[in-house]
Each structure stands twice: as structure tokens, then as C-alpha cells.
């Protein structure tokens, strides 16, 4: 069991890749009961995160269908025995229908093969049922052949199975190397000024990964590495004047600390004040810190025409030492764009290396950039 209350934290929803998906959220926000300071439910009857909520695990690793939205988001870096490098992303979304009678499940998977210079990605959408579900009692989510399950309850070891079509298959065991982080004040991560715009936000910021990767018809190869996993539960988390957001997770190589940043971009091009950078201490305590985001270069997608930031200089203050730290975030490959074949909305989500001022690689990162192909009207 894990209970936590942390400093206020704002993080944008990262899932809004589907028009209908977002639209559901918009309806939800605008249908709120006006003037309620701490509502317990949205106007259409969905639950809202409550401060001081006591999380019970493994139950709270499972699904919360009384909330409208929920996702399990795993990103990570892998190396095979010959030190060939790979990046992967696996996301499972769950959404309850407006009439709260059924659910839809959406999932994304991506694999970056650095040596081969290939980025593979795929989406799946299914109704709740035999081929897609998220169990309530524990972490057990499935979408077609893809699944994420808690297999060792006391150690919170998870198993991720999936791949990208018949080009790549992953079978990974994820073992937490640090305790779960619960972001947000009294367990509620606020997403905006609106009293309902909040979520429960649970993160494994460093997971040890071992497993098998099969590329095409090749023999399976042993892989190992590190991953990051978010589990977020909400019924609404929107801001009307945002066009998109940038999200980065950094795992430092030589110290047991991580950073997480999200920047909400507004229609006028400015950064929303709700944007935040958080350091995760060795004990898994989140610590907020100021940040400066500078785009050093961009990449234009030949598929969508969108121009994404490519190299980033991120400057922040180390809460442990009080000294400014500068990180260069450099994509391992520039074309890690999920072109939105199923849902029609493109975003960039990719594996990056982290360099210091001396161009020394000091960690790895995953970065998500949304709203560049088309402004997201949320």
C-alpha cells in the first residue's frame, strides 16, 4: 500500500490524439456544475479526484471506470547483448462512454531501432469486451494482442507484451527500482484553474526492464534497460486556450534521480503558468523547480508537414544543490512521429539522449510534442 501527498503539480493530459476522445472531454468540462468549489462528480456523473484519497494497491493499479479517462503509459530505453540501442512506447487508454454503460480502449505502441534507423508505430482501438479490457482489481489491461499486467504483487513487477504489427514483438518484465511517485497536492494533481480539472497521477519513474525483442523474422534477442510508467486517472483536465504541450521525462545515468517537465503552450505562443518541471528524489519525492526551455533546432515531418522542436536546451535549478543545471535533449532519431493512422492526429514521441554542457551523455529521456501538426482545440 502506498499513500502520498505531494506539492501541487500540473501536467497536461497526454492522450488527446483522437478528436472524439477530446470532444468527450470538452463536453465534460463545459457541463460542469458551476460554482462548486470541490465537486465530487462532474455534471454527467463521473467521479473526480478527491484530496487525501487513500490509494490501495494493487487495486489502484487497476481500472477506475467511475472516472471518465484513464491511461497506463510506459516509455523506455533498451539495449541488446551487442549494445544495440532501442526505444519503446506502450500506452493503454480507457474511456468510459458518456452514458457510463460501456468503455472504449485505445492503445499505441512504438519502437525505435537506432542501428537500423527505423521507427515503427501502431494504434489499436477496441470496445470493452473479450479483446480489450482493463480489470478493476489489479493492473491487467489488454488491447488485442497487447497487454500490461502486474505479475508479482509484492514487488510490483509488471509484464508488458506487444509490438508493432509483424515487424517487432516485445515481451518485457518491468521491475520498479524506486517506489511509486504520487504527484499532486494531497494526491490530487491539478490541471488548471477549473475545480474539476485534476487527476490522480501515479508514476514509476525508474523501472528495470529485461525481456525479449523480436524483429521481423529474426531470432528473439535478449534486451535490458530502463523505463518510465505513468498511470493517470481523471474525468476532465483541459484548458481552453492551449494548442498543445511538450512533455519530457529524464532518467539520469549516474544518480538515482529523474526529472519530469511539461509545458502547456497557449494559442498566443506563450507557456501556460500551469507548466512545471519536477525533480524526483532518490526516495521518489517530487520537487518542483523553475525551468527554461530553448529550442536549438527543429525537424519538419515529411508525412504531416509539422515542424517539431528537435534539440532542446533545458535549464533548471538542482533542488539538492541549488546549482543551475543545463541539459541538452537530443532525439536519437528525428522521425519519431506517430502519424495518427487510426485516429488522424499526429504527435511526436521519441527516445532522446541527454547531454551536459560538455556534450557528455549523462542520461536518457523520452519527449512528447503535441499540437504541432494541427492546433489542438481542447
Amino acid at each position: 500500500m502506498n499513500t502520498a501527498a505531494n506539492p501541487s503539480n500540473r501536467r497536461p493530459r497526454r492522450h488527446g490524439h483522437l478528436r472524439w476522445w477530446r470532444h468527450g472531454l470538452a463536453a465534460c468540462v463545459f457541463g460542469l456544475v458551476a460554482g462548486t468549489a470541490k465537486p465530487e462528480a462532474t455534471a454527467d456523473g463521473f467521479a473526480l479526484p478527491q484530496p487525501g484519497h487513500t490509494f490501495e494497491f494493487p487495486r489502484d493499479h487497476g481500472a477506475h471506470p467511475e472516472f471518465k479517462l484513464e491511461w497506463w503509459y510506459v516509455t523506455g530505453h533498451l539495449y541488446d547483448e551487442s549494445k544495440q540501442r532501442f526505444g519503446f512506447q506502450a500506452t493503454f487508454f480507457r474511456q468510459t462512454s458518456p452514458d457510463r454503460t460501456t468503455e472504449l480502449h485505445l492503445a499505441h505502441m512504438a519502437l525505435l531501432d537506432v542501428a537500423a534507423g527505423r521507427f515503427l508505430h501502431q494504434e489499436r482501438l477496441n470496445r470493452d469486451g473479450w479483446d480489450a479490457f482493463a480489470q478493476r482489481a489489479t493492473l491487467d489491461v489488454r488491447n488485442g494482442p497487447w497487454s500490461l499486467r502486474l505479475v508479482d504483487e509484492p514487488r510490483e513487477v509488471m509484464e508488458l507484451s506487444g509490438g508493432v504489427r509483424s515487424d517487432a514483438r516485445l515481451r518485457l518484465t518491468l521491475t520498479p527500482r524506486k517506489p511509486l511517485v504520487v504527484f499532486g497536492e494531497k494526491g490530487v494533481s491539478r490541471k488548471g484553474d477549473d475545480p474539476t480539472a485534476a487527476s490522480y497521477y501515479l508514476t514509476f519513474s525508474r523501472l528495470q526492464v529485461t525481456g525479449e525483442l523480436t524483429l521481423g523474422a529474426e531470432a528473439p534477442r535478449r534486451v535490458s534497460g530502463e523505463a518510465w510508467m505513468d498511470h493517470e486517472i481523471s474525468s476532465s483536465q483541459l484548458s481552453a486556450n492551449q494548442v498543445g504541450w511538450d512533455w519530457v521525462s529524464i532518467q539520469l545515468r549516474d544518480e538515482p534521480r529523474e526529472l519530469m517537465l511539461y509545458r502547456l503552450r497557449r494559442t498566443d505562443g506563450s507557456e501556460d503558468p500551469a507548466s512545471t518541471l519536477q525533480w524526483v528524489s532518490p526516495e521518489s519525492h517530487p520537487q518542483r523547480s523553475p525551468h527554461v526551455w530553448e529550442v536549438l533546432s527543429t525537424w519538419k515531418s515529411p508525412a504531416t508537414g509539422a515542424v517539431y522542436p528537435a534539440r532542446i536546451r533545458l535549464t533548471t535549478k538542482d533542488p539538492q544543490t541549488g546549482v543551475d543545471r543545463m541539459f541538452i535533449i537530443e532525439p536519437l532519431r528525428s522521425d519519431q512521429e506517430l502519424t495518427g493512422d487510426l485516429a488522424g492526429i499526429a504527435y511526436w514521441e521519441g527516445a532522446c539522449r541527454v547531454l551536459d554542457a560538455n556534450q557528455r551523455e549523462i542520461g536518457s529521456a523520452y519527449m512528447e510534442l503535441t499540437g504541432y501538426a494541427r492546433a489542438l482545440k481542447l
Binding site: L125, D131, P145, V164, D167, R169, R171, G216, G344
Partner: protein
């Protein structure tokens, strides 16, 4: 002057051939354009008939396989239950067994429905039947084709435009109310709602829009309707059952390995056919092809008759030309043209004729196919399965085949005349009409060859059928016997012409015109004999088929009378095809059975099953009631009453005659039937006649089958009314209360069965008529050619004062005699062919025992019609010939 041989390799040879072709053959064509045209048209008809049947057959088979492909594209495998639907619980089991392998599992349910008959529309069987496909429309989006999101990305209108996307996206597919997507070809403007007959109910369903399509996927046939899986399940009250699972391996470099593993895993899980079978699309298509193979092959063979007759015609046209152009040939030979050049020039002429005929035949065949496809489609629909065939496109392969057929036919027919032409000694020049018309082979050789062929036919008729891989048998020896008899009789029968002329002489003794024409037949030319052979072939085949159809109809009529004894017959009006699975619900069955006017009700349930890899059906009824049915059409009656007693018949069944033939089972043998409750081993107790389908059926007691298949609904219901009840009144009442049912009275159903029966032979008759038309046309050509040979004689006759009319009458008499001779021979041969069709070919293909009935009136009518037409055509040829100047070259 003996010609000297030149090498074939002479570089000038081919140019000489071309020169000969253009100078001689084309000149003849110019001089007699109508003859050349008629020959080309007759050859074209032969090719056309073959092509149109081929196209229609292809369309009928293609129409079947396209339903699912429209939705999901080509599957890698299909998981099918050997009997009844699959329980939805097998789906997670399959997913678990497949693990993380990238495989789409797409459960499908398929149902058929029709629309309620419009006021005044016929209630007959065979109204348009629609295929309802239920697929999870959300999961289909994962196939990631452009059209797959179309089900929830906005309502498409029938013109292909799209309204603004719906905000509720995929949720719309989950909405409670069933919605249906229709083919763009359903109507120019799609309706808002549509009425469909489901079981005995009429349901109104909202139309969601047009089935999304993309340029590279098969077009949705107009009879296809798509619903979300859950919506169709609730519409049909089916519960969580699916008819099949389509398996699609996701693309990628590892797909082949995944495909192989998937097949192995699913086959193991399905206990290699015990629970389900994993079939590849080719296998499935070949199963449907196997089902209709005998039917289609019979049509194809019939369609070759006209070509066979055409073959005779080309042969005799070219042979005639050789004889008539002998002067030219001799001159050419004298000028040093070699044998081989002459032979090639003649063959080239045949080839040109063949290509022209083939080309024209393709056009005619394609046009004919557009009509034939409907007839073939209707039959396939009535006898086998729902097909969406509505047009028959012409492929490059068909074009090649049509031209090759014309070319090969003309080259075969032209080979002997070409040889004759090449070898004609110049000395024969001056003897234009003397020994010329005796034909290429001696009479004795022809007679012996003919008798030999007849003997070969007798032997071939004794041989067994060739067993087809994948089920069914092909009576190839039977067909060979028919061909041998037709060719043999053609060779032999021409030699009876002198006999016919002697007989006819007695009749026409006083008429000069008659005597003159008969004098020609006393020493008939080879062409006379060929004309007789061609006509005989057409008549014999037509009359033989008439005998088969009459025997079949007589047998079916008797069977219908014995089988149909109830007063009213009820079925879902949704069932408009032989493969339809529409049912009457158990509630309606109970209500109908206890209707106050009903004394006794008898239900029949039909389940398609796959037994020993072949599709057949398991039917169930209350067997105890069969004991009270008088005159059950037994082939082998059960030896004891155990099969009629529910206490003892749980492992006893009756089988149909076709089943017995197809699966080689006799009373006492055992069978293992696949059922949703596992395999059941039963013993065959008796065999009954059933002309309903050739797949055969097993009849078991309904009570046991109800437990095996866990369903109460029935396929059809026979009601025996209480004495004194007014059938018409009860029927009207039932139709009012159950608008989704068809209710046939005993008399209407009998008529309906016979109507469908005749309908299925409609196309056969059309083929026969074309064959006969080609043969009669050929008779005209023969006489023209004979008259051309007799130019000197005609000049003499005119000099003697014969009028045009007298010459025409003489030719007409000659033609009449030829027709009479051919008709007699043809009828005689038709008895043999009828026997062959009924006892060998039909029995081996379909397994039905038929009585032998000769439709005397029909055959006499056919003979008379042919003699009359032959006489008419000959008269016309005579009128034309009467004007021939002596120096007319051709």
C-alpha cells in the same frame, strides 16, 4: 506436270502464302460475302455460347466469396465450426493461446434476410435475398485501411460524399439501436430506414449510410448489408454466438512465421476439426466451387455442343471450297506453288475464319453472359448458396480462351481440307464435280470408324466416375461415351441417306423436282453426310436433355406428391436462398402448433454441417410422425421401427439418397456427426429420396438435435389442419398475424417447387436452342455449297425450262430429306443419350435415381420443327442457287 518440292524454309514461302491468301481466299470472300459472313457468324455462335456460360459461371462463383472480403479484405484463415455457430467464449481462448502474436481476430455473424413483399409483388421463392454481415465495426478500424474508419467518421451519403463527422465517433457504433450500412449500389438514394424480415418478424432498421469503400477493395455487392456485431446479434436474438472468426495476420517482416504459428495453434486448439476447422480462403472458395462444380461443368459441356456443330460446318465449308477451287489449285501447282505453301495458305484461311469467329463470338458471348449470369445466378441461389453475381466481366484470360477456341476449332476442321487441297493432282482440274464430293475418307473407313466410336461409347458408359479431390465425382467416362456416340453416329448415319432417298422416292414418284433431289441423295456427297451429322448431333443432344428433364420432372413430381401431405407450409420469408439460415422462433412455433385449426404440426430444422470435410446438412424432425406419413419416398425403408421411437432413436438416423451416394453409407453403417455438444455417432437406418439438393442430408429426431444444438427455432413448419377447416382462411389469418412468414398451401408449394425446378433448366434449353440453330444454319450453308458444285446442272435445268421455284422446291426436298434423316437418327441417338444422362452422368454427379420417361410429344415437336426449318432454309438456298450463272466461280 509434277510439281517439284520446295523447301519450307524458302524465304519466299511465307510471302507466297500471304499472296495466295490475299489473292485467292480474300477474292472468294469478296465474291460470296454472305456465305463467308454466315460461316463466321455460326462459328461465333459456337464460341459465344461457351464464353457466355464460362463468364456466367465465374460470376456466380465469384459472387459468393466477395461478401466478407468487402469488409475485412482477404483473411489469412477462417475459423469455422463443423456444425452450428461458435460460442463467443472461444474468442478469449484463441487470444490467450495466440499470446502477443499480432493477429486480428474478427468474429463474424452472417444472416440472410429479404424485404417484405410489396403489395402485389409475387410471394414466390427467389425474391432478392440480402446477406447481413455482423462485424465489430470498431475493431475493424484496426485493419488500418482508409475505409475502415468510415463506419464512425461520419455518415456517408449514397453519392460518396460525407456529412461532417459525428462528434460521438465510435460511441455511435455502440449505441443501442441497430443501424445498417447498405451498398452504394443498393439504390441511387439510400432510404432512411429499411424493413427486413428476421425469423417471422418484420423489423425496421435505421440506415446509417453507405458501406465505406476504397478503390482497392472489392465493391460491396448490392445485396450486402453491414451491421455492428452486437446490433445484429440482438436483432437476431442470437445471444453470444458467432458464425465464424476471420483471422488476419498483421503485415510485417515476421508475418510468415506468425501465420504458420497461428495456423498450428488454432488448429491444435480446435482439435483439428473437432471443435472447429481452420481453413484458408482458397479452401473455402474451392468448397463453394466444389458445391456447384457438377452444375457448372454440365453447363460448360452443354455449351460446347454449338461449337462442336460449328466444327462440322467449318470442315465442310473448307472442304467445299477445296473442291470448287480445284481449278485454281491445279493452276497454282502447275505454276510451281508447293504443297506445303498451299497447305499453309489453306490453314491460314481457316485461322482467319477462326479468329474472326472467335472475336465476334467473344462479343456475342459477353453480351449473352449478361443474361446468362442472371439465370445461372438464380439457379445457384436456389440450389446452393446466396450469390451476388449481377454482371460478368470479360478478363484477358477469357479473351485469349475465346480466340484460341475459335482458332483451334477452325484449324482442326481445316486440317484435312488443307491437306486435300495441297495434294490435289492438277489432272483433276477438268473434273470439277465428278468424284470430288465423295469426301476425304472412303465410305468404308468412315463407316468402320463410326461403328468403332459407337462401340467405344458403350464401353466408356460402363466405367466409374472420376473422384474429385475435395469431394464429388466427375462422370468423365460418361461424357466421353456421349461424345463417342455423337461422333460415331454422325459418321455412320450419313450412310443411311441412300436408304432414306429410296423410301422418299416412293412418296415423291410423280414429282420431277423430288426425283431430281433424291437422285442426289442416292449418291450423297461428303457434305451431305456432314450436314446430317451436324444436325443429328444437335437434335440428339437436345432430345437427350429433353428426356432427362422429363424423367427428372416426372420423378420430382412423384416425390413431391409423396412428400408433401400437409395442408400448409410455413417458413421465414427471409429465407430466399438455399443457404439461408432464417428460422421461425420457438415462441411462434409453439403458437402455430397449438392454433385451434391445427390438428398436428411437424417442424423441420436444417443445420449445415461439415462432415468428412464436405458440406452437407443435418436435418431434424419428429421422426415418430414419419411412421404415420403414408407413402414416404423410401429408397431403402428402415428394417425396424426403432428409428421412429424417441426412446431408441438417439443414435439412429435416416439419410437421403444423395447423401448415401456422396458419403458411401448404407443402412447399418455408422456416421459421426459434428455438433456443438461434441461428435455424435449414429447408425444409418434407412434411405429416403430427396431431390432438394445434391449435398445430401441426414435426418435425425428433433428432440435429440435440439439438445445437441441448443436451439429451439425451426426452419420450417408443416401444418395438418383439422377436418373441415378452410385452408385459405387459415392461411390468410396466419399471413396477417405473421407478416414475416411465407405460408404456402399444399398446391402452391407443389407448383412452386416445379417452377423452381423448371427455372433451373431454363438455361439448358437456351443452350440447346442455339445448338439447333447453328445446325440448321449449317444445313443452309451445305446446300449452298452443294448447289455451287452443281452450277452446270443448274444451267442445264434452266435451259430445260425449270423455273426458279421448281429449282428451289427441288432443293427444299433435298433439305427436307436431309433433315428427316438427321431427325430420325437424332431421335434414336437421343434415347441412348437420355439413358446415359439419367443412369450414368446424373447418377454419378448428383446421386439421384430417376425414372426413364420419353416425352414423345416434345420429341416429335422438335423433329417436326427441325424438318420444317430445314426445309425452309433449303428452299431459300435453292432460290439463291437458281440464279447461279454457270461461270460463277463460287
Amino acid at each position: 506436270m509434277a510439281p517439284h518440292r520446295q523447301s519450307d524454309a524458302d524465304p519466299g514461302a511465307s510471302s507466297t502464302v500471304l499472296l495466295l491468301l490475299s489473292r485467292i481466299s480474300l477474292r472468294h470472300a469478296r465474291i460470296a460475302p454472305r456465305q463467308t459472313a454466315l460461316l463466321v457468324v455460326l462459328l461465333a455462335l459456337g464460341v459465344a455460347v461457351f464464353v457466355s456460360i464460362r463468364l456466367a459461371n465465374k460470376a456466380a462463383v465469384a459472387g459468393f466469396s466477395r461478401f466478407t472480403e468487402t469488409l475485412t479484405g482477404q483473411s489469412d484463415y477462417t475459423v469455422l465450426s463443423p456444425a452450428g455457430p461458435l460460442d463467443a467464449s472461444v474468442l478469449p481462448e484463441m487470444r490467450a493461446a495466440l499470446g502477443d502474436r499480432p493477429v486480428h481476430l474478427i468474429p463474424v455473424i452472417e444472416a440472410s434476410a429479404s424485404r417484405p413483399a410489396e403489395p402485389g409483388e409475387s410471394e414466390r421463392f427467389g425474391r432478392p435475398a440480402y446477406t447481413l454481415l455482423g462485424v465489430d465495426l470498431i475493431s475493424v478500424a484496426n485493419l488500418a485501411r482508409p475505409q475502415d474508419r468510415g463506419y464512425f467518421e461520419g455518415r456517408m451519403d449514397s453519392r460518396g460524399g460525407s456529412e461532417p463527422p459525428r462528434d460521438d465517433g465510435p460511441w455511435s457504433a455502440l449505441q443501442g439501436k441497430p443501424r445498417v450500412w447498405l451498398s452504394r449500389d443498393y439504390a441511387t438514394k439510400l432510404p432512411e430506414q429499411i424493413d427486413l424480415i428476421v425469423d417471422e418478424r418484420i423489423v425496421t432498421v435505421d440506415v446509417a449510410g453507405a458501406i465505406p469503400e476504397s478503390p482497392d477493395s472489392p465493391k460491396a455487392p448490392p445485396t450486402l448489408m453491414v451491421l455492428d456485431l452486437a446490433a445484429l446479434q440482438s436483432l437476431l436474438n442470437r445471444g453470444a454466438r458467432v458464425d465464424r472468426v476471420e483471422i488476419l495476420i498483421e503485415a510485417g517482416a515476421g508475418a510468415d512465421q506468425v501465420r504458420a504459428e497461428t495456423r498450428r495453434i488454432l488448429s491444435d486448439l480446435g482439435r483439428d476439426g473437432g471443435r472447429w476447422t481452420v481453413v484458408e480462403p482458397e479452401t473455402q472458395r474451392s468448397t463453394t466451387e466444389t458445391m456447384t462444380r457438377a452444375f457448372r461443368l454440365n453447363l460448360t459441356i452443354l455449351s460446347l455442343i454449338a461449337l462442336l456443330v460449328g466444327l462440322y460446318l467449318i470442315f465442310q465449308a473448307l472442304d467445299g471450297a477445296v473442291v470448287r477451287r480445284r481449278t485454281e489449285i491445279a493452276i497454282l501447282r502447275s505454276l510451281g506453288v508447293t504443297e506445303s505453301m498451299l497447305r499453309r495458305a489453306w490453314l491460314a484461311e481457316s485461322a482467319v475464319l477462326g479468329l474472326l469467329g472467335g472475336g465476334l463470338g467473344l462479343l456475342l458471348g459477353w453480351a449473352g453472359a449478361q443474361f446468362a449470369v442472371e439465370a445461372v445466378g438464380r439457379t445457384v441461389n436456389a440450389l446452393y448458396h446466396a450469390t451476388s453475381a449481377n454482371h460478368a466481366p470479360l478478363s484477358g484470360e477469357d479473351i485469349g480462351l475465346g480466340l484460341t477456341l475459335g482458332l483451334v476449332a477452325s484449324l482442326i476442321a481445316g486440317w484435312v481440307p488443307a491437306r486435300t487441297a495441297a495434294r490435289t493432282p492438277p489432272a483433276q482440274v477438268m473434273q470439277r464435280s465428278a468424284a470430288a464430293s465423295q469426301g476425304t475418307f472412303s465410305r468404308r473407313t468412315q463407316l468402320l470408324a463410326g461403328l468403332g466410336l459407337l462401340g467405344v461409347g458403350v464401353l466408356a458408359a460402363q466405367l466409374p466416375a472420376y473422384p474429385w479431390p475435395g469431394g464429388g465425382r466427375f462422370p468423365i467416362a460418361g461424357y466421353m461415351a456421349a461424345l463417342a456416340w455423337i461422333l460415331g453416329a454422325g459418321l455412320v448415319w450419313g450412310h443411311t441417306l441412300p436408304l432414306v432417298s429410296r423410301l422418299a422416292r416412293r412418296l415423291g414418284r410423280r414429282s420431277f423436282t423430288a426425283l431430281l433431289s433424291l437422285s442426289h441423295l442416292r449418291r450423297p456427297s461428303g457434305r451431305h453426310r456432314l450436314a446430317v451429322a451436324a444436325l443429328l448431333c444437335a437434335i440428339a443432344m437436345t432430345a437427350g436433355m429433353a428426356i432427362l428433364v422429363a424423367s427428372f420432372e416426372h420423378t420430382v413430381r412423384g416425390w413431391v406428391e409423396r412428400s408433401l401431405q400437409a395442408d400448409l407450409y410455413l417458413a421465414s420469408a427471409g429465407a430466399q436462398s438455399a443457404s439461408a439460415q432464417n428460422r421461425i422462433s420457438s415462441a411462434a412455433t409453439a403458437a402455430l402448433s397449438s392454433h385451434p385449426a391445427v390438428e398436428r404440426a411437424m417442424a423441420l430444422v436444417v443445420f449445415p454441417i461439415v462432415l468428412e470435410g464436405l458440406p452437407t446438412s443435418l436435418n431434424a424432425t419428429d421422426l415418430s410422425q414419419l411412421r404415420v406419413v403414408r407413402r414416404m419416398p423410401w429408397v431403402v425403408a428402415p428394417r425396424s421401427d426403432a428409428v421412429f421411437d424417441r426412446a431408441t432413436n438417439h443414435d439412429r438416423v435416416l439419410i437421403s439418397e444423395s447423401f448415401s451416394e456422396r458419403f458411401r453409407r448404407q443402412p447399418g453403417d455408422s456416421l459421426t456427426l459434428p455438433t456443438p455438444s461434441g461428435p455424435k455417432t449414429v447408425t444409418v437406418e434407412g434411405i429416403f429420396a430427396d431431390y432438394g439438393n445434391e449435398r445430401g442430408s441426414v435426418l435425425a429426431d428433433r428432440e435429440h438435435v435440439r439438445q445437441w444444438f441448443r436451439t429451439e427455432a425451426v426452419t420450417n413448419l408443416s401444418l395438418f389442419l383439422k377436418p373441415g377447416e378452410d385452408v385459405a382462411r387459415v392461411r390468410a389469418e396466419l399471413l396477417r398475424n405473421y407478416p414475416g412468414l411465407t405460408v404456402f398451401s399444399n398446391a402452391t408449394l407443389r407448383t412452386e417447387i416445379l417452377r423452381i425446378f423448371r427455372q433451373t433448366f431454363g438455361i439448358t434449353y437456351a443452350l440447346e436452342v442455339i445448338g439447333v440453330a447453328v445446325a440448321v444454319g449449317g444445313l443452309g450453308l451445305t446446300l449452298i455449297s452443294v448447289l455451287l458444285d452443281r452450277r452446270d446442272e443448274l444451267t442445264t435445268l434452266r435451259a430445260l425450262g425449270w423455273s426458279h421455284r421448281e429449282i428451289a422446291r427441288s432443293t427444299a426436298f433435298e433439305g427436307a430429306s436431309l433433315s428427316l434423316c438427321a431427325a430420325l437418327g437424332g431421335l434414336l441417338l437421343s434415347l441412348a443419350l437420355g439413358w446415359l444422362l439419367i443412369y450414368v452422368i446424373n447418377k454419378q454427379s448428383f446421386g439421384w435415381t430417376l425414372g426413364f420417361i420419353v416425352p414423345r410429344g416434345q420429341l416429335a415437336g422438335l423433329a417436326l420443327a427441325i424438318i420444317a426449318t430445314g426445309t425452309g432454309v433449303s428452299y431459300w438456298a435453292g432460290r439463291w442457287g437458281a440464279d447461279l450463272p454457270a461461270d460463277r466461280e463460287e
